[in-house]
Point group: C2
C-alpha cells in the first residue's frame, strides 16, 4: 500500500467537540467561528493572507471512521460512492473547507463558517481565488436532486 | 515534527512531463485533457460520480521543491507568504485542482483542465458542489491586483 508523509502545520479550534452536531459544510455552519493556530515555525508563510476574504483549509479528518467505499451521505437517503460525496470516511482522510477569514494576529487566524471538530490537525492553507475555484453553474449530480435542508452531522462516520 | 500517513489512491496522467510548461491552474489550462486512474481496489467509490460536471482532485505535489515560506508566485513579482499563494513548494505538499469530468469507464476518469504533472499521485477525489465551493465575489488579496495573463509555469518550484 503506497503512502506518503504529510506534515501537520497547526490546529483548528472550533466550538464542536464531537462529530455529531458538527455542521456538514461551511455553507451550513451558520457563521460558526473558530481559530486556526499555525505552528509558529510556519508563521512567516501567512504574509499577505489578510487580503483574502476566504481561505481553503486542508486538514486531517482525525475522527473519521475507517474508509468505506459506499456511504449514505447526510443530504441523501441512498448509498453513493465515497468519491461522489464529501463524507469524511475516505481512503485518504483529507478534509477540505472554505472558511471566511475575519482577522490575523501573528500566527493566529480568526475564521468563520467552520465545520470541523475542535482540535482538528491542519495540513495546509490556500487562498480562495474565484477565478480558480468558482464555477457557479456546475452540475452537481445527486446533490442537485437533494432537497434536504439538513445542517448538522450525526455520528454515522465517527470512529 | 508531527506527520500523518496518507494513502495514494491512484495516478493522474496528463500531457505535462515537467513543472516548466505546466499550466498554473485549471482555469488557465486551455482545456488540456488527462486521465485519472483510480486503484481498482477503490473503484466502487466512484459510483454516482458521473453526475458531477466537475470534481476536486487532491494530490501529492511530488515534484515540488522543499518548502519555502516566502515565494514569488507565477502571477506576481513580489514575495508573498506561501499560504497566500497556490505555489507548490508548501510545508505539506498537497495540491488541489478542480477539473471537468468528461467521462467514466470503470476505474478510469477522463478529465479536462488538468494542471498537474504526468504521473502525479492522487490522494482524493471529491465532487464539486457550487453551494459548498462557489463564492464568486470573494475578495482575493494580491491576486485581485494582478493583471498577469500568464498561463504556464516555469521551473522555479521544481526540485
Amino acid at each position: 500500500m503506497k503512502r506518503i508523509r504529510i506534515q501537520i502545520v497547526g490546529v483548528i479550534e472550533t466550538p464542536f467537540r464531537e462529530p455529531a452536531g458538527c455542521p456538514i459544510q461551511p455553507s451550513r455552519a451558520g457563521g460558526a467561528e473558530g481559530t486556526v493556530r499555525v505552528d509558529p515555525r510556519f508563521a512567516d508563510g501567512l504574509k499577505d493572507i489578510e487580503g483574502f476574504e476566504r481561505i481553503w483549509l486542508t486538514y486531517w479528518l482525525h475522527r473519521a471512521s475507517c474508509s468505506t467505499l459506499l456511504v449514505t451521505p447526510f443530504l441523501d437517503e441512498q448509498q453513493r460512492g465515497i468519491f461522489a460525496t464529501r463524507a469524511p470516511s475516505r481512503p485518504s482522510p483529507v478534509g477540505l473547507s472554505v472558511v471566511r477569514l475575519l482577522g490575523v494576529e501573528g500566527n493566529i487566524l480568526h475564521v468563520a463558517d467552520v465545520d470541523m471538530i475542535d482540535g482538528t490537525p491542519l495540513l495546509d492553507i490556500k487562498p480562495y481565488v474565484p477565478e480558480f475555484d468558482c464555477y457557479p453553474n456546475s452540475r452537481a449530480g445527486w446533490f442537485d436532486d437533494s432537497s434536504s435542508r439538513r445542517c448538522l452531522a450525526d455520528d454515522r462516520f465517527d470512529r
